[in-house]
């Protein structure tokens, strides 16, 4: 990233010397490290943010929350960190990687999905799952922890055939029909479109996942970063997040 910035600066000086128009690289760039589940909604918000904030541009790096934390502690040049769960952000705070207090900007709840047409005749977290192939997230990753918590609340014991590291892997296995059912975030169910059908899980909101956003202490553009967070938590952000299925 730093190398690239240097190259851009060099390029900019060349362009200035030849008398070109103001290049994009003269804009202030906000680097946002965001959880993978935010990919589509943040990409959309980034475009809107750049349109309404002349002189600012946004660059994203999407990955699993834990991976983002690893990269941040290894010195990645992030101006904004957005995690898909609270514990990861708490770790960042404990490690003094975060300056101010993180803000909850969205929530996500779990739902059950089945392949289109529901070939296995699943009706919910009930006996219809017996002998069927249920795929969930592994305990330890945010959606897996939420799944375990929800199952505990409902007093059911799940017998999954696979515990995936990424929620997108759960989605893929249901979409392809390898699995008869899966437990994913509402936002994932929405992103899968017609490939899956959703079966809401009762009391899902009691095991909701909080999405937190904060400015790392190492941020080189803290002011612009604050502006981006303001935008995400503002009305434009709330609309886009709600469209994607996130809760407020």
């Amino acid at each position: 990233m730093r190398l690239r910035a240097g190259a851009c600066a060099a390029l900019a000086s060349v362009l200035l010397a030849t008398g070109c128009a103001t290049p994009a690289s003269q804009r202030t760039e906000v680097v946002v490290y965001a959880a993978a589940s935010l990919n589509s909604v943040f990409t959309r918000l980034g475009t809107e943010f750049e349109a309404s904030h002349p002189g600012l541009s946004v660059k994203f790096s999407f990955d699993g929350s834990a991976t983002l934390l690893d990269q941040l502690s290894a010195g990645a040049p992030a101006d904004v960190l957005a995690t898909a769960d609270e514990p990861t952000m708490a770790k960042a705070v404990t490690a003094h990687l975060i300056g101010g207090a993180p803000t909850v900007f969205a929530t996500n709840v779990l739902t059950m999905i089945v392949p289109a047409g529901n070939p296995a005749g699943i009706t919910g977290l009930d006996r219809s799952l017996e002998g069927r192939k249920l795929v969930v997230c592994a305990d330890g990753v945010p959606c897996g922890s939420a799944t375990r918590k929800l199952a505990g609340l409902l007093g059911v014991t799940l017998h999954p055939v696979s515990e995936e590291t990424k929620v997108t892997d759960v989605r893929a296995k249901v979409e392809t029909g390898q699995a008869d059912a899966g437990i994913v975030y509402v936002t994932d169910a929405r992103a899968s479109g017609d490939a899956v059908e959703s079966i809401p899980i009762a009391h899902a909101d009691q095991a909701r996942n909080d999405y937190l956003i904060a400015v790392p202490t190492s941020a080189t553009q803290p002011v612009a970063a604050a502006q981006f967070i303001e935008f995400v938590t503002g009305s434009s952000g709330r609309t886009a997040l709600a469209d994607a299925g996130f809760g407020g």
Binding site: A172, G177, Q178
Partner: protein, 263 residues
């Protein structure tokens, strides 16, 4: 005879290459929480992953030998377009990106496919089973055995087979007592490479077999999971994987040195 010396400047890029290859592995060794290592590796999840990996890799190597050796034999005798085609076919899984291998298996053997459905109606349901792990590993690992043995068979001249036949040995006897023993080092190194490749198999397994402790979650999948949960455990397991891989490579190199004359 003294060979003319290499130009001195070669040492510079050579050293750079050596450093480039060694640094990531050394960095991992430095980063290993050595004190906690036994505890990290003794967890049920880690032990299950290690045990599953070793079991499936042994099975994969066995399947690769049973099916891959005959394929290598047939290909090594093959002439013309079909043989070239077969050779390419046997090599492609080696160079497939892991996820592509997984997708290919999924669209071939997935539950919603004709072949997968046929197998399922015959009572063979591969989805999310240890057998699926072996299938995924074999798909990417067997080519290493086939290519290694086929190459050795093709470069071995057929004079020994011819002489053995004129001495009255039936084709099976020739194969058992002459052809295969002569390429034994290549079979050994091919099997070791297959084992190593199977051990590192990740993409096809996670796409095709799933990830469940003790059933389908092999060492690489456990590392992938622990990377999201606990980096120290991930690194500890990685070191185990690196150690096994290094042992296998060393064994292969040894087989290579022994040459074609085991004494």
């Amino acid at each position: 005879m003294i060979r003319p010396a290499l130009p001195r400047w070669v040492a510079v890029p050579a050293a750079a290459a050596a450093v480039f290859l060694a640094v990531p592995l050394l960095a991992m060794l430095v980063r290993v929480p050595w004190v906690r290592l036994p505890a990290l590796l003794a967890t049920p999840a880690a032990l299950d992953a290690l045990g599953l990996s070793l079991r499936t890799c042994v099975l994969t190597t066995a399947v690769s030998l049973v099916l891959g050796l005959p394929l290598a034999l047939v290909l090594s005798r093959g002439r013309g377009r079909w043989a070239s085609f077969g050779r390419i076919l046997a090599t492609v899984p080696m160079v497939l990106p892991p996820v592509v291998a997984g997708l290919a298996l999924l669209v071939a053997l997935g539950r919603r496919t004709w072949l997968g459905g046929t197998l399922a109606s015959a009572g063979i349901d591969l989805a999310f089973t240890t057998a699926a792990v072996v299938v995924a590993q074999t798909f990417v690992a067997m080519p290493y055995l086939v290519v290694s043995v086929e190459g050795a068979l093709r470069s071995a001249r057929d004079r020994y087979d011819v002489v053995a036949a004129t001495l009255g040995a039936r084709p099976t006897t020739v194969l058992r007592r002459v052809t295969l023993p002569l390429v034994a080092p290549a079979i050994g190194s091919g099997a070791a490479l297959s084992f190593a490749r199977a051990l590192g198999e990740f993409g096809a397994t996670i796409t095709f077999a799933g990830s469940l402790q003790g059933t389908t979650r092999t060492l690489p999948l456990e590392i992938y999971l622990q990377r999201e949960v606990d980096t120290d455990t991930a690194i500890a397991l990685s070191v185990v994987l690196v150690a096994i891989a290094a042992l296998l490579v060393a064994a292969t190199a040894r087989l290579g040195r022994t040459g074609s004359v085991p004494s």
